[in-house]
Symmetry: C2
């Protein structure tokens, strides 16, 4: 059987490795447009922060290991362009521009996502860059070095933008951040937003929310970002305004897409066409809380869904329950984490949400070094279900969010979650963990 | 209605406060033998570590706040001695040795636990001390100061003993630890034990497992701990060999006790006698995994069960599902955590356990500063249920254990837990969290 995979990053290589482990005799081919496979994309900001480190440190497993040790026909520099579901072929162009056409029995589309760029003039100006794949990371790092970049404008204030702000400040680069909407981190509860904003600004990052980029002019060492009321001149502009799923390859195939052009899959990662799977950032998922389709391109889902395809092409019938949208990022000394729904997401999904926002501490009463933990918790008035948790703090946030993430997977009520037997020791939190205090407060509103 | 509480620590004061919030008109009396109420007992080792801090820092809420702000008749220095269930009275002795007898409509026994002392000659020698209540903590701290203690022997190697070892090393005191059994931390998976032992010994603590204390001789500045093959001369001996429930007050009442003399309660904290509740370290609990009775004296359970009694005396009918035995302690730079059952506990409870032990990392591939995380996970072959998790590492352990703790509360299978949508970001763990890697490995054995 021929298993063909388009895309050699998290989902694609997870599928290839898993399928190989399941079936030593399988014919496995991976088509990867770039020269990089299997790297930690999320590690790029931290790598950029350290001028002395090579971007190649982020490669988890080099291409030759897949080729030599796992007998995977890994074709880098191969850009897949069209799928013919009737003929069961994928065609495209190889490294020299030569055409190729490959047959498959089972196909996985793992084309990932691309940086979403603002639709304004001058967006292709050299020195304006985005950060999605390893080549982007290398280019940014080299540009900083070659041009002795001292001042950077970041478009977007999401987690990638904030991680990049931290990375650039670590290199003593001046950072300004711009976004069209007024709200800084609009998905985060208000009292938590204030904490993050204060931290970011206290580290010398200038935040300009509510300013839309109209065009980019200039070039070389002086890019001009033109907004309505002012123009900023900077050495470099980084665009971090989110990503879009790479689903163009499905055009003409009849493969069903979602509202944001993400590829629709069922719990087995099957698309609407027989023997064609999709996984990773190009594909959608079920939300564990709403039960509805959602599109949240994150690394664990990419790896897990790729692995599931590697099982399913070998007949294992693995079904993934879905995602809770659990995520965490670090920005300077803060940890910012969420799982499940915000109040507005809960309303849109038909719940009747109630929310509490509390402030607790990261260590016990009188234990030295305690920091604030800000927590927001959302529950459903009609069912009593726990719907979501958000947290911000200097310690004890990143892993704490996993307890409610598990609770969401188990569809627990707030009342049941409030009875959780959590660990206590003075260096790690109060006797009543912030999660339990939050749940107790929220219960009063349900 | 008269609500009488015996014991003014975590469970007793939680009950008193909760009952007052529920019912402003309730007649609430608390009998506390010592002069301290509402303090963080678990914080004592950390307080002892710092010669400059007062032990009174650990008082969460002073007695006068309960008296003046909450209108609780808090009688310190009052030792309850007998309960007469027929007459509905509790009698004992007040601060001056005078007798008292108080009537109740609802009674809570929250007498806690006491240090278990080895049954050997000389155990009452001055300079041999244990650490259970605030008076113990003060006495140890004063003794260290007054006698300029330079060398201490700790009997017992449980978490209190280890926390004390760390505290004393922080004050540059020489520490030797002794216990009769050969196994260091017998409840911990073997590969994890080795990590903890190495850390403790590397900090200059001498461990002597397999050595039973036969008697204590000498006194003053030179206590002699006599074992079979040697005698150790030290300035001070701290006994940390666990605790026993304080249930003597039930004698003659007919209140049912468990095998270790802990007071048996149902999920509403009711004892076998009408209108008499028990909560905190003196009472038992249901185990969330086995469904059987267990006795695990820990702070969260004490607070939670006291609070439940404060609700139930006001007719709320609160039922506590039970405990998973989740706990964490810090020893030097290590975090050691557990939830649920060990293999031998699982066998005793009638499960058919399988276990994996894995080593993962605390941060992502190529992220600087990553440390090992050692994890052991236990599941049941016949039902597929997750039964327990243990972890040791220098970071990312304390809160990570709460995710499986929630899973145990929800009676999740290992397969379901393995699908949890956990948070990922390079500074906080690998894409596949150690918990997910462990669950994936364990699944292969189920």
């Amino acid at each position: 059987m021929r298993f063909l995979i388009i895309g050699g990053d998290a989902a694609g290589m997870s599928a290839a490795s898993r399928a190989r482990r399941n079936d030593p005799g399988l014919d496995i081919t991976v088509l990867e447009r770039s020269s990089d496979v299997s790297y930690s994309a999320c590690g790029m900001p931290y790598n950029i922060a350290d001028a002395g480190r090579s971007m190649d440190d982020l490669v988890v497993r080099p291409a030759r290991v897949f080729r030599e040790k796992q007998d995977i026909n890994l074709l880098t520099g191969h850009a897949a362009e069209t799928i013919d579901p009737a003929a069961r072929t994928v065609s495209g162009r190889g490294p020299g521009g030569e055409g190729f056409s490959l047959e498959y029995d089972k196909l996985l589309i793992a084309t990932g996502a691309s940086a979403r760029l603002p639709d304004v003039p001058g967006i292709g100006t050299p020195g304006l860059m985005s950060l999605k794949n390893l080549a982007d990371g290398r280019a940014i790092k080299e540009y900083i070095k070659d041009k002795k970049v001292g001042r950077v404008l970041i478009i977007g204030m999401g987690y990638v933008g904030l991680e990049m702000a931290e990375a650039l400040r670590a290199r003593e680069i001046e950072v300004t951040m711009l976004k069209p909407r007024e709200a800084f981190l609009p998905w985060l509860a208000e009292s938590l937003v204030a904490v993050v904003r204060q931290e970011v600004e206290s580290r010398g990052v200038k935040l300009l929310p509510g300013c839309a980029l109209r065009r980019v002019e200039g070039g070389g060492d002086a890019l001009e970002a033109v907004c309505d009321d002012f123009t900023l001149t900077r050495d470099m502009i980084i665009v971090a305004t989110g990503v879009v799923p790479n689903s163009d390859i499905t055009s003409g195939t009849g493969i069903e897409l979602g509202s944001r052009r993400e590829i629709a899959v069922n719990r087995r990662m099957e698309t609407s066409l027989d023997d064609i799977y999709a996984a990773g950032d190009c594909a959608d998922a079920y939300h564990l809380v709403t039960g509805r389709k959602t599109w949240v391109p994150l690394a664990l889902r990419a790896n897990r869904s790729g692995r599931a395809v590697g099982d399913n092409v070998c007949g294992r019938g693995v079904e993934l329950p879905g995602i809770a949208g659990t995520s965490v990022f670090k920005v300077f000394d803060l940890e910012v984490a969420r799982t499940g729904l915000t109040v507005s997401e809960a309303e849109q999904a038909g719940f009747e949400p109630a929310r509490v926002e509390i402030k607790s501490r990261s260590r016990a009463h009188a234990h030295p070094g305690a920091e604030d933990i800000h927590l927001s918790m959302v529950g459903d008035k009609s069912s009593g279900r726990l719907l979501g948790v958000q947290m911000v703090g200097r310690e004890g946030v990143a892993h704490r969010v996993n307890a409610p993430a598990v609770a969401l997977g188990a569809r627990m009520t707030v009342a049941d979650f409030a009875q959780s037997d959590l660990a206590y020791s003075p260096p790690f939190g109060p006797v009543w963990d912030p999660l339990l205090t939050g749940a107790g407060q929220l219960l009063k509103q349900l």
